[in-house]
């Protein structure tokens, strides 16, 4: 009886096995990058805005404090986007003829809101509050990155669940003294872990078990 397979079949089986493994691995890689990458999370992407507002100029350049504009960040879940009046405090006089600021002046005149495009957007089934994080020593920078160097706002972190959990499991890696929350140039000391543990005591931060339980963020 003649052989059913030619001799070369041995190598084609090997080659196709290699190809199969490669294709599966490549698909897995594509899947993971899709799931965790900027295409899904929109990390690092700027959005089209009605006015090209620059945190780099206003915070980095002029030294304005976050709370001058985001007034409710310490006392409520929501940081707040400033109303047009806040811009007009200065822009009634500064760059008052600039076409870039025309939408601000129009809004002030007509009373119609400026429609900023949301940059950070958690799904509605996640419960998030600013005030508790500020009260327990988490700086704006830990979650929003180097805002003072952003000519246009973008989302610096993935905002995925595992990112939240990375900190909730070990907050000592990120906590800072409360008077440094708004400091955009804070650098962590060499003994961060020791300082972090001390701040956990001092600010009565709850245990990782408590703040990683599903009902903390989903209820």
């Amino acid at each position: 009886m003649p052989q059913l397979f030619p001799h070369s079949a041995n190598s084609s089986v090997r080659v196709s096995l290699v190809i199969l493994v490669t294709v599966v691995a490549a698909l897995a890689w594509v899947g993971v990058s899709y799931q965790y990458g900027p295409y899904t999370t929109r990390q690092g992407q700027t959005r089209e805005q009605p006015v090209p507002f620059s945190h780099a100029h206003h915070v980095g350049g002029l030294g304005l404090d976050c709370r001058y504009c985001h007034t409710s960040v310490e006392g409520s879940s929501f940081a707040g986007i400033p109303p047009t009046k806040t811009c007009m405090n200065c822009h009634a006089q500064i760059w008052s003829g600039s076409s870039m600021l025309a939408p601000v002046r129009d809004s002030f005149r007509t009373g119609e809101s400026i429609r900023w495009t949301k940059v950070h957007d958690l799904p509605d089934f996640v419960y998030f509050q600013h005030d508790i994080h500020i009260a327990k020593g988490v700086g704006c920078q830990s979650c929003h990155g180097d805002v003072d160097r952003m000519p246009l706002m973008y989302q610096a972190k993935s905002l995925q669940m595992r990112w939240c959990l990375d900190c909730h499991r070990a907050p000592e890696k990120y906590l800072r003294p409360k008077d440094q929350i708004f400091n955009t140039e804070y650098t962590y000391p060499a003994n961060q872990l020791a300082l972090g543990r001390q701040l956990i005591q001092q600010y009565h931060v709850r245990s990782p078990q408590d703040i990683t339980s599903c009902s903390t963020c989903h209820h």
Binding site: G63, Y68, P123
Partner: protein, 191 residues
């Protein structure tokens, strides 16, 4: 599930004509605990004239709060020392008067409250950004700021009187580097 059909802060509405889901209170509404009938505290006035004494208790916490809020909301124009040469003024905003002049040292505290609440000439009002309790904290701090630049030598404790004639010293590290963001050294001590 990602965007549920409910209102969260700042989510637009298609129902109301102005597109806002947050509704302004109907004119004349008085919320619980917001009767605000103490004119001295809420208007800075009693019987139409400006109050001359702080209508809230003066505590170290009030002053600390006042310093923090002053540095956030007022220092951009009035500068941390209160001389009126803040960053926004350096970029072209009208220059406010210095707080360190007799007219403002003698002005009643109610005047400062009134300026924050209603604005003054070229200065916008800060009623929406600074709640009433913080306005009084800021007023108390401005008084401290004024005293800091106008204190008689007799206020210095006896055992430090001799220091008054020493030349001004800053920590060595402060010399030779630019002022950090938002810090204005008074002119005399500029490194």
């Amino acid at each position: 599930m990602y965007n549920q059909p409910k209102y969260v802060p700042m989510r637009p509405s298609t129902f109301f004509r102005d597109g806002r889901s947050e509704r302004p209170a109907v004119p004349g509404t008085v919320a619980r605990d917001e009767l605000n009938d103490n004119d001295a505290v809420y208007q800075g006035r009693v019987g139409g004239s400006l109050v001359d004494t702080l209508p809230v208790p003066l505590t170290p916490e009030l002053l600390a709060r006042g310093r923090e809020r002053y540095n956030i909301f007022c220092a951009p124009c009035h500068a941390r020392v209160g001389d009126g040469n803040g960053m926004i003024v350096q970029r072209g905003f009208s220059r406010p008067p210095t707080f360190h002049q007799d007219r403002l040292r003698n002005a009643p505290v109610g005047h400062f409250f009134d300026v924050i609440t209603h604005g003054w000439g070229a200065m916008p009002d800060y009623a929406a950004q600074v709640p009433v309790a913080d306005r009084w904290a800021i007023v108390a701090y401005i008084r401290a700021l004024q005293l800091s630049q106008h204190a008689p030598a007799s206020l210095v404790p006896a055992d430090h009187q001799a220091d008054l004639n020493q030349p001004l010293r800053l920590p060595a590290t402060e010399f030779g580097k630019a002022a950090p963001h938002g810090v204005d050294y008074p002119k005399e001590v500029q490194p």
